[in-house]
Structures are given as C-alpha cells and as structure tokens.
C-alpha cells in the first residue's frame, strides 16, 4: 500500500476536523418527538471501529419500547396522512435542506461511527441522502400521477430495520418514500451504527416534523424482530442479510403486512476482452473495495475473459498497491475500517476457508493499524464456482476472480447463484452490453461502470436478494396500498 512503501511523494496526513460534530455521552430512544430512556433501562455502547474508542452510550430498545413507538406512530398517522401532499412535501424539502446544511457534521459522524472513509461519506453518502429526501419530497403531492391509481392511500405504520453499512443513506431510502406517501415510521438502526439516525431525529426536530411521525429505536436484533412482529405495523421494510430476510418473510406469513426486503448479493463483474481496461480496473476496484466491500451490491466475483486474464490481473494488482488504507477521517484514505469485530471475524474466517479450499490469496503489501478492525484488500485467484468464496457473500474487501471463455459461459456463471442483486458488464461493444444485460438475472446492472446510485433509479434484487424496489417511481409502491 502507498501508506507503507517509501515514496518520494508521501502524502502528509490530511485529517478532516472532528470538531464539527458534538457527540453527547449518551442518547435515548426517539419516540413521539422526545428522547427517552428504554423501558428496561438498558444501554449499549457504540464504538469507533477504526480506534475502538467508545463514542457514546445508547438506550437499547426492547419490546415495550417498540410498542410505545408503534403507538406513537399510529397516533401520528391520522393527521400526517391527512395532510395535503404539498404540506408533507415541504417537511421533506426542509429535511433535505437541513441535511445539506449539516452534511459535513453528519459525514464526520458517520465516518466515526461506521469506519468508512470521509471521502465516501462526504462525496457519496451525504449527497445521496439529501438527494433522496429531495426526490421523494417532490412526489408527496404528485402521487395521483405515479401510476398507482387515483389518490393511492398510505399503508399506515411502517416498521423499518436498516443495516450498518450505509447507516444514514439506508435511513433515507426507507424514511423518505414512507413519509412522502403519508405513512409514519418506526426505524431501528443497526446496533453498531446508531448515531446518525439519532442525529437525524434532531434534523426532524429542526424541520418541525410533527411528533410521532418518525421514531428511532436503536437496539439489537430482538428489537427488530419485535418491530416486525408488532400487530399494528402495516408495512415492514428490511435491508440486511438474506438469513434475517427469510426469517422476516416467515414471520409475516399469513398477515396483511406488506413487505419489502433488500438482502444479500454475490454480484458478478464481467470483463470481456474488448473492455476499456483502465476503466474496468477502476470499476472492479470500486465494485469490491468501495466501503470496504461491505456493500450488498458489491461486485464480489470478477468474471474475466480468459484471454485477458493475466493482463487484467497485473493491472488490477498494480492498482491495488496504490490504495491507501488507514485513518478514515484522513481525506486521502481509500480503505477504512471494517465496521465491527464480529464482521471482521466473519471476513477472516471466510478468507481462511478460501485458502483452505485451495484458492490463491493475494494482498498488496499493507500494514494494518494496531487498534480497530481492519482487513487488507484481498484477491483470490484460481477460484471456481465450487469455492465458498465464490458462493457466499463475504461482505468485506475480498474479490474472487474466475475466468470464462464465451459470453454464454459468462452469463451462466454470473447467474449461477441464489442471489440476484447486481452485476457489471465491461465491453466496448454496445450490442453485447444489451444482450448480456438482458440475460443476467439481477436487479441492477452497471455497464462500463459500477456502484452508481441515484434516487431516481430503482434498486433491488431478484431471487434471494429480496423483493421490492427502493428509489424512483417504483420505490413508492412499497408504501402505497395498491393491491
């Protein structure tokens, strides 16, 4: 890595200032417009994954708190859903603007709590968060024209459970369309990244959002399960692992709850021999090393045409050697910390399994910090579809490289997974892009690019990657009573 080899042009540390964010020593649950202690008085600590420093102590929601929050959301639903769409829109526009104003503060906060580089929170997460609220704000008074019938009705109380990989962005994906369509919300952020959701509660306060419309319940899986199971929840939206997604699907069976699930993936990034190679290398890097690979739509399987495999791998390895791993607050950091000790141990064990199964492991020379949770960017070559590292979602900075000979074989291998979230295609031949894209069983396909997101663009999976779409006009359906 650049940070460890002696280079003539050694970039000096360029840390973003922490002083823009003021983290309180403790936070409560946000229910009915107030911060409040958990009924059972439990708390948990949230740490900075890059240093293991305790950032704050957070009230831990339990079943009683879930019930209280759902009641608050139910109480708020009547007035909120009866508001003219134009009024709901203005609240959302306010939220979007306040997020833009506070984006530096929120970016630093997110980097501290999640461990991802400030470069990403500053240039990707926060701009997308604001854009998402801005986009759905505009829908609130135009729902009659969205293609779901005249005056489509909201569902009621939405119970939302989000992951730790893009804490505030996933919150935006869930809350913006829910509020625009007139639902009220109880949202449970992940236990390792509760802070940005709690700061969002303060954004709601600044925006003057009516009490109970948004309720934030930090907690563990038990709180999420209680929320999903609550009989007065009309809509369940979950982003996270496929295993939990299946449990939720079972849990809501036979009920009238509407469900959308955005789950795991094992995306194939297919590079043909006529690809724009330098851009493909960048796409491979952003596909699997963006956010330390902790991305459900990561391009975790590189499928490269055998005729250019050696050349591509050489370019890729050279490129990986320039990645800068370290302090996430440093503006030049490309690879930050893994979000938690638990996730690190999962990555470590899958990688060890990959080695044990005979795949060839490679990482650039890379010195990892001594505290915090870190994993070096890793490539596996000599991988086949039979290897665990080619089948299981690792959710870390680990790329499995497989080869193919023909487009048919590329498509067959790409589709040979229970998942179906994302895929990439790299070729200069337009007709091949269209042909391959039409055969891939995946919800989001990037041709000659990767990991691009936009509030107008529907996102979601085929097969075991879940169902329902977030973003765009399609994203409204999940929160409307359309069937």
């Amino acid at each position: 890595m650049a940070s460890t080899t002696a280079s003539a042009f050694e970039y000096a540390p360029a840390p973003e200032s922490r002083s823009v964010v003021d983290i309180a020593p403790s936070y409560g649950l946000f229910i009915d417009g107030e911060f409040t202690e958990a009924a059972e008085g439990k708390v948990f600590k949230t740490v900075s994954p890059s240093t293991e420093e305790v950032l704050s102590e957070i009230a831990q929601a339990g079943e009683a708190d879930v019930d209280r929050a759902v009641r608050a959301a139910r109480k708020a639903f009547g007035k909120w859903s009866a508001l003219p769409g134009s009024e709901r829109a203005k609240y959302l526009f306010r939220i979007a603007r306040i997020i833009q104003e506070r984006s530096r503060e929120l970016a630093v906060l997110e980097t501290l709590d999640n461990g991802k580089p400030i470069k990403e929170t500053r240039d990707a997460d926060l701009p997308l968060v604001a854009a998402h609220f801005f986009y759905y704000a505009g829908w609130a008074d135009k729902l009659d024209h969205a293609g779901f019938g005249a005056s489509p009705r909201p569902l009621g109380v939405a119970g939302q459970v989000i992951p730790w990989n893009f804490p505030l962005l996933m919150l935006a994906w869930k809350i913006a369309p829910a509020l625009a369509t007139g639902n009220t919300v109880v949202l449970k952020p992940a236990e390792t990244t509760p802070l940005s959701a709690l700061f969002f509660a303060d954004v709601c306060r600044q925006a003057g959002l009516p009490k109970g419309v948004v309720n934030i319940l930090p907690g563990y899986g038990d709180a999420g399960a209680a929320l999903v199971a609550h009989p007065d929840v009309n809509k369940v939206a979950f982003t996270g692992s496929t295993a939990v997604g299946k449990a939720i699907a079972r849990q809501v069976a036979g009920s009238h709850k509407k469900v959308t699930l955005e789950l795991g993936g094992k995306g194939a990034n297919i590079v043909f021999d006529d690809a724009p190679i330098d851009q493909a290398v960048e796409g491979i890097v952003s596909g699997i090393f963006f956010n330390q690979g902790q991305v459900c739509c990561a391009g975790s399987r590189l499928l490269v045409q055998e005729s250019i495999q050696d050349e591509l791998l050489e370019s890729l390895k050279r490129r990986l050697a320039t990645l800068r791993l370290g302090d996430p607050l440093d503006k030049n950091t490309d690879i930050g910390a893994i979000n938690s000790a638990e996730q690190l141990s999962r990555i470590t064990s899958l990688v060890e399994q990959g080695e044990a199964e005979g795949a060839e492991r490679w990482s650039p020379a890379c010195e990892l910090p001594t505290s915090g949770y870190w994993f070096a960017p890793t490539l596996f070559t000599n991988v086949t579809q039979a290897h665990t590292v080619a089948r299981d979602e690792i959710f870390g900075p680990v790329l499995s490289v497989l080869s193919f000979r023909t487009p048919e074989e590329a498509v067959a291998k790409a589709n040979n997974t229970p998942y179906g979230l994302s895929a990439g295609i790299w070729t200069e031949k337009g007709s091949r892009i269209l042909a391959v894209a039409s055969k891939l069983r995946a919800g989001v396909i990037w041709s000659n690019t990767f990991n691009k997101f936009d509030p107008t663009s529907p996102f979601g999976g085929y097969k075991e990657s879940g169902f329902g779409r977030e973003g765009g006009r399609h994203g409204l359906e999940a929160y409307l009573d359309v069937r």
């Binding site: 970039y11 360029a14 470069k119 724009p276 960048e282 690019t449």
Partner: protein
C-alpha cells in the same frame, strides 16, 4: 543524456510495417470509456495534499515547468527576462529550484540559450510549423534543424492532425521519425498531439502509442493555442499510455501537459495523477513537465505562503 532511439520499441516494429498493420494495431488498443476516465481523473483530484507533501509538490512542480513564451510579439528582451526568471524563479529566495526549461520559437533559441547559460535550465523550441503544422515536411525539418543548430536541447514538434484524422497513421509516424532524425542525439523530442483537435480519448490513446512507437522522448498534450488544452483526463490517459508502453517495451517516455494549468492546486492534482498512475519513476523533470507560463508565479506565491505562513500577493513575485 539518456535518449530513446527510434528502434527502442523493437518488440513492436512489425506493427509499423505498413499503414494497414499500424491501423490494426492502433485500433486494437483497449478503448477508453469517457465517463470512467473523467471520473477517475476527478477522483484523484480530490486528494488532499498538505504541509510537507505540499512543499515537496510545489518544488517539484517548479522544477518541472517549461517556462513558455510563444507569442508573435516575443522579443529578445522578453526572452532574456524569461530566461532570468527560469534560472531564479524567486529572487528573494535562492533555495527555489530552477525551472526545467524555457520554451520559445526557433528564432529565439540562441537568445534563450545565452540567457540560461550555465544554469542547467534547458532550452526547448517548438518547431515543425508550430502550432498548425501545416507546411511541407521539408519546411518542418528545416525548422527543426534550425532550432537544433541554434542549441535547442529539446524540440516540441506538432503532429499532422489532418493526416491523423484522415487515418493516415503511417504518414504521421514517418514524419515523427524524420523529425526524430533531424533532432539527432543532441535534442530530446516532445511530440505534441493537440488533443483538443484529436477530440476523442480513443484518438488520444492511439496518438500516444503512435508517438511512442516513432521514438518520442515525451508525449505532450497540446500547443496552448486551441480551446481545449491539457486536462486531468487527457493527461491521465497519456500517463496510462507511457506506463503501459514501458511495461511492454521497457522504454520510458515522458509526459508534458501544456496549456491551461495556471494554479498550484491544478499542478498538484497533475502530480497526484503522475504519482498514482505512472508512478514515482515519473516524478522527475526528466519525465514530466508542465508547459506553462502563469503557473510559475502561483507556485512561487504558494511557496512563500508555506515558508512564511502568510498569504503572498502578485506584487511579491516577478512578472517577467
């Protein structure tokens, strides 16, 4: 001085055997995705270069400047002043490095040579009917010989963009070979593509390889005389080309973005491109140059700021 010879790229000699084989080779190079290339250049532009790294980058950038005057109104006085500036960019601080070269028209080479004598600053001369290049080959070669005879250390030639855009790659190649020969062993050759006229990134990659195959010591973006000159994206693309060319042939070629680079911030971004694309072997004025004039004063002001902690102003740098 280490100089490439036209035959250095022996591994690829058969590609230049005919117009057809040259075309097939150039058109067989990997394509360039415009959006991806520009996104990568922009991403590298967000590197934050501070304190010690910035001081290093500023001195390196100063040492890489080809301080340029290419005006119809150039006079011996103007060129002498430019030479003095190249040798002592900041008269108040003698630790300031010299620029790499001064860059002038052929008829000013002798004047420039005298102005920088003994300093190590090179004299570069544009030639080959710069900037349009629309003249007979013999005229262009005479232009080159004239400059070399006057003592030019470096020749900045323009390619025949018309021939390139008409697909006559071998004509362009042969012309570079001829100029290369006219340079002899005394002068290093920079080949200017006028990237703004080649228009597409695919063309820029092809021109880069064409120039390197023909024995260019440097490939250079532009003349500074058209609307679009050096950009982070086209320079990144050319850095990829020299990197790949060395990997394939063992021959190292330099890169010179020229025109439009006016601020320290811009220059540092270009150095980041060099560092993270071609690598540190190119972080030396033997392999990377800035074709610029006003850039130098901004570098000097920033250098003063780093030294003193207060912002400098245009009255504290010289305007030659």
């Amino acid at each position: 001085m280490p100089t490439n010879t036209p035959t250095a790229a022996d591994a690829l000699t058969d590609v230049t055997a005919s117009d057809g084989s040259l075309r097939r080779f150039l058109h067989g190079l990997p394509g360039v995705d415009t959006v991806g290339l520009e996104a990568r250049a922009a991403a590298l532009g967000t590197r934050s270069i501070k304190t010690t790294a910035k001081a290093y980058a500023i001195d390196l950038a100063i040492s890489m400047v080809d301080l340029t005057t290419l005006e119809g109104a150039d006079t011996p006085g103007k060129v002498r002043a430019l030479g003095a500036k190249a040798v002592h960019p900041d008269p108040t601080d003698r630790t300031t490095p010299t620029t790499a070269a001064v860059c002038v028209y052929p008829d000013m080479v002798a004047t420039a040579k005298a102005a920088v004598a003994g300093s190590g600053v090179k004299v570069a001369s544009v030639a080959t009917a710069f900037p349009a290049g629309r003249a007979a080959l013999e005229v262009k070669l005479a232009d080159v010989r004239d400059a070399v005879a006057a003592g030019a250390d470096e020749i900045d030639m323009v390619i025949d963009r018309g021939a390139f855009l008409a697909g006559k790659y071998l004509k362009v190649y042969d012309e570079i070979i001829a100029v290369r020969e006219a340079c002899g062993t005394a002068a290093r050759l920079k080949v200017i593509f006028e990237t703004g006229e080649l228009s597409t990134y695919d063309n820029i990659r092809r021109a880069s390889w064409l120039g390197m195959l023909a024995g260019a010591d440097f490939i250079k973006t532009s003349t500074g005389k058209v609307a679009v000159n050096a950009t982070p994206a086209n320079t990144l693309l050319m850095l990829e080309a020299v990197r790949d060319f060395r990997a394939q042939t063992g021959v190292q070629v330099g890169v010179k973005p020229a025109g439009g680079i006016r601020t320290t911030k811009d220059a540092v971004k270009f150095l980041v491109l060099v560092n993270e694309t071609a690598g540190e072997d190119w972080l030396d004025n033997h392999w990377f140059r800035f074709g610029a004039s006003s850039l130098l004063n901004d570098l000097l002001m920033q250098r003063q700021k780093l030294a003193t902690g207060r912002y400098s102003g245009p009255d504290y740098v010289t305007v030659d």
